[in-house]
């Protein structure tokens, strides 16, 4: 299990490969479910040129660990890994990576989605967007992932 707060851009594929390499001898997983969130260059009707992510050092990590523990109580999972960017982020960069390893696909899918939704609604991160116009604005709230749009 690992929770990582990154202040530099990271390659999600490399991060996954490295992480999985380390758990391979121990863990007999048959199913891996992964979610990757990537910064887009528009949001809410405006072009966004960059974004700054604030967080609460200490609480954020604690909250992410708690979310993984909750997932582990509800589903049979073998391991989980969360990596989240903070600081200044450019379009096309990875914002968040969640990966869950399990014996069976139902557990991997459900736990990965639970972690992502819980992260979106409870992990202390705040996005400040810098628009192409030069203005900055705080993102007001996250949409629910089970609804469309």
């Amino acid at each position: 299990m690992k929770v990582s707060i990154c202040s530099q851009a990271f390659n999600p594929w490399q991060a996954l490969q490295d992480y999985q390499q380390d758990l391979k001898p121990d863990v007999q997983f048959g199913a891996t479910s992964i979610f990757i969130g990537t910064m887009r260059d528009y949001n809410d009707g405006a072009r966004v040129s960059s974004m700054t992510l604030e967080y609460y050092p200490g609480m954020t990590e604690k909250q992410l660990e708690k979310i993984i523990a909750q997932a582990g109580q509800q589903w049979q999972i073998l391991d989980a890994y969360i990596s989240h960017r903070v600081g200044k982020i450019q379009p096309d960069e990875t914002i968040v990576l969640v990966a869950v390893w399990a014996a069976h696909r139902g557990d991997a899918f459900d736990a990965c989605r639970f972690i992502m939704e819980a992260l979106k609604s409870t992990a202390p991160f705040w996005k400040n967007e810098k628009l192409a116009s030069g203005e900055t604005r705080w993102v007001a709230s996250n949409s629910g992932g089970y609804q469309k749009g």
């Binding site: 604690k62 705040w126 007001a140 709230s141």
Partner: protein, 76 residues
């Protein structure tokens, strides 16, 4: 007793500070900490944490606690 108060994101901007130290003479709730430190009405979407765990506005605070206030989270 001594409480460390922290404000994040848009709330820090609005308060013009990201933290302060509050000295209190008596037992207090999270909501009391807000009013003593800000002298403002609390916006209705403010979230609170005590010692880095989510807390309710009616929760009591103790000497040495860190109390944080922040807007809805927008990570991921």
């Amino acid at each position: 007793m001594s409480i460390k108060v922290r404000y994040f994101a848009s709330l820090g901007e609005r308060m013009g500070r990201s933290e302060s130290n509050l000295e209190l003479a008596q037992a207090m709730t999270v909501a009391d900490v807000w009013y003593h430190d800000t002298s403002q009405i609390m916006p209705n979407n403010v979230l609170a944490a005590v010692n880095m765990e989510y807390a309710g506005l009616a929760d009591e605070v103790n000497d040495g606690d860190e109390v944080a206030f922040f807007p809805p989270v927008t990570g991921g």
